[in-house]
């Protein structure tokens, strides 16, 4: 027995070392960003434990680009998309889960199509649509293509289907209308799904880049990612430490939320993924 155990232990400790090396490797870009952002520029590439700490880079970054405006834009964008998604997806999901209507299964297949053909792919044509609607360079224009989400409809439909029908029947006996049943029975019981979907949606749209880049062209509408891309572009000639400081500023809200509610985040992504 002891003969087989020693190599097993050895393999296991090698494996754990590998797991930890990978974890460190995975965190290293972020660690480096912190190093560079909190130290004076001359230490950006020199690693000296005695290097003085500074917040100067953050102040410079904040002054050099309209980050406050970008934050506001991203905030408006992300919350309006989420709000619209919640309303539209709840209604559609309820119809697909609990109401019999003509052409329902065909309609549902069409909805699922959007899981494949996401708005990112259709930037050319959607840009034309937005210019016809006079919505180029507006936050509304950035948000519109994402407001009906096949993923949200699908996720909520699956959840609504698990809710016992007896609850609905009981509510109906009490004299509740269809809308009241949805709002008082289904929505409260689907809370975990709403939280999961909300987290996934917020992190997706906080980070989204290509479509916002295409459709915005002024400081008043640009979300953080687009602002950051312009700020950090090599041709802008901004110093490294200032770019990393700006980058950390841009990711801070999401990163802090993630570190605080790590469990919730991971579970939400899991919940959203296995439905």
């Amino acid at each position: 027995m002891s003969q087989t155990r020693t190599p097993f232990r050895l393999i296991q400790s090698l494996e754990y070392t590998g797991a930890w090396l990978l974890a460190i490797l995975w965190l290293s870009p972020l660690i480096y960003a912190f190093w560079s952002a909190f130290h004076p520029a001359e230490y950006a590439t020199r690693f000296d434990l005695m290097a003085p700490l500074t917040l100067e880079n953050f102040r410079t970054a904040w002054d050099q680009a309209p980050f406050a405006q970008y934050f506001l834009n991203t905030f408006i964008l992300v919350s309006s998309i989420l709000l619209a998604q919640l309303v539209l997806c709840t209604l559609a999901a309820f119809a697909f889960a609990r109401i019999e209507f003509h052409g329902k299964s065909v309609a549902f297949v069409f909805v699922l199509l959007q899981l494949m053909i996401m708005p990112e792919i259709l930037i050319v044509e959607n840009y034309t649509t937005m210019s016809k609607l006079n919505l180029v360079d507006t936050i509304t224009g950035v948000g519109l293509p994402y407001m009906a989400s096949a993923f949200g409809i699908f996720l909520l439909r699956q959840t609504f289907k698990t809710i016992p029908k007896e609850l609905e029947d009981a509510a109906r006996v009490e004299g509740c209308s269809l809308m009241e049943i949805l709002l008082k029975v289904y929505v409260p019981l689907a809370r975990p799904t709403y939280i999961a979907y909300g987290l996934v949606s917020v992190s997706y749209h906080w980070n989204n880049f290509l479509w916002p880049l295409v459709i915005t062209n002024s400081v008043d509408t640009r979300p953080l990612t687009v602002g950051l891309a312009i700020f950090g572009a090599p041709e802008s000639g901004v110093e490294w430490s200032i770019i990393t400081a700006g980058t950390l500023l841009a990711v801070a809200p999401l990163l802090i939320a993630f570190l605080l509610f790590q469990r919730q985040f991971v579970q939400s992504f899991m919940h959203a993924g296995i439905k």
């Binding site: 974890a23 539209l88 559609a92 209507f101 044509e125 649509t129 009906a148 891309a229 993630f258 985040f265």
Partner: protein, 287 residues
């Protein structure tokens, strides 16, 4: 009567889906048969001319090939890493919740921010990679400026960004595997590798297929890093299909040709969709 309610409730979402998914899909297809209109000359029907032009376009073939390499480079490695990560985090790894956080963090960071940081790793001479390789006497290298290494650099970032995200799905699947299974295998004298290969890997199969589809879609969708790191260069060596579409439509202002290229992308996605329905056990994820 209920039928009316059903449609009424679906209508708001349907309107948006039609306006921003179905209509543009059809319009893209239509536009690919027309020439690019100008102020002087309206767009006219040209049949397959755009497609013929595409087949003669060297850049198209290069970005298509790049995209194949990008997919082949990112998908297997990120899936293998995701499985390893999930097994570690689900097992008895010391301080595993910190490791899980480390693996998952790239998922919630925007690609643009990530590219800003990685740019510094790849910078010649003063970049971190060159500083590290210098310790071993390896001469400095312009990682992003060399057509032979630039796509590899992009692939590494994508793997780093995706693996932790895929880990989540495996983690969810592993949590439904009862621990008795492993105990039983151990009693039977099965090695860990044998147990993984013959039992766990089979159980994880539906998850792998699901992740695989997401990974394939991502390999056509994830192009944000190019905007910061390479702009598709040098000489289109790192350009990908969606990035090329963006360039053609918004830098060269040729919407007709951009639509033609989009049709190729749509065709690829349609193939994936069909493959999914044929090969994938539908009950697993889309019941």
């Amino acid at each position: 009567m209920m039928s009316v309610y059903g449609w009424l409730m679906f209508m708001p979402a349907a309107t948006f889906l039609i306006a921003f998914t179905y209509y543009p899909t059809v319009a893209t297809l239509a536009k690919s048969f027309y020439s690019q209109g100008t102020a002087l000359r309206a767009a006219e029907f040209v049949g397959l001319e755009n497609f013929e032009y595409m087949l003669d376009d060297d850049v198209f073939w290069q970005v298509a090939w790049n995209n194949v390499i990008y997919a082949a480079g990112t998908i297997p490695i990120s899936i293998a890493l995701a499985i390893a990560m999930a097994l570690w985090v689900n097992g008895r790894l010391p301080l595993k919740s910190i490791a899980r956080m480390a693996y998952f963090t790239p998922t919630i960071l925007p690609m643009i921010a990530v590219a800003n940081i990685w740019l510094f790793f790849y910078t010649p001479d003063i970049g971190l990679i060159d500083q590290f390789t210098r310790l071993f006497g390896i001469p400095s290298h312009n990682w992003l400026g060399d057509p032979n290494t630039v796509l590899g650099c992009i692939i590494v970032i994508t793997i780093w960004k995706e693996a932790g995200f895929f880990m989540i799905f495996y983690l969810a699947a592993l949590q439904s595997v009862s621990p008795e299974l492993e105990e039983a295998a151990k009693l039977e004298g099965a090695s860990r590798w044998y147990f993984f290969r013959r039992v766990l890997f089979q159980i994880l199969m539906p998850t792998t297929l699901f992740v695989l589809i997401n990974a394939v879609i991502n390999s056509f969708k994830l192009v944000d890093q190019l905007f910061i790191l390479t702009k598709g260069g040098p000489d289109n060596a790192s350009s990908l299909l969606l990035y090329y579409i963006y360039e053609v439509a918004f830098s060269f202002l040729d919407q007709a040709y951009a639509s033609t290229l989009t049709v190729v992308l749509l065709a690829v996605l349609a193939l994936i969709a069909i493959g999914q329905f044929v090969f994938l056990d539908k009950r697993v994820h889309y019941q």
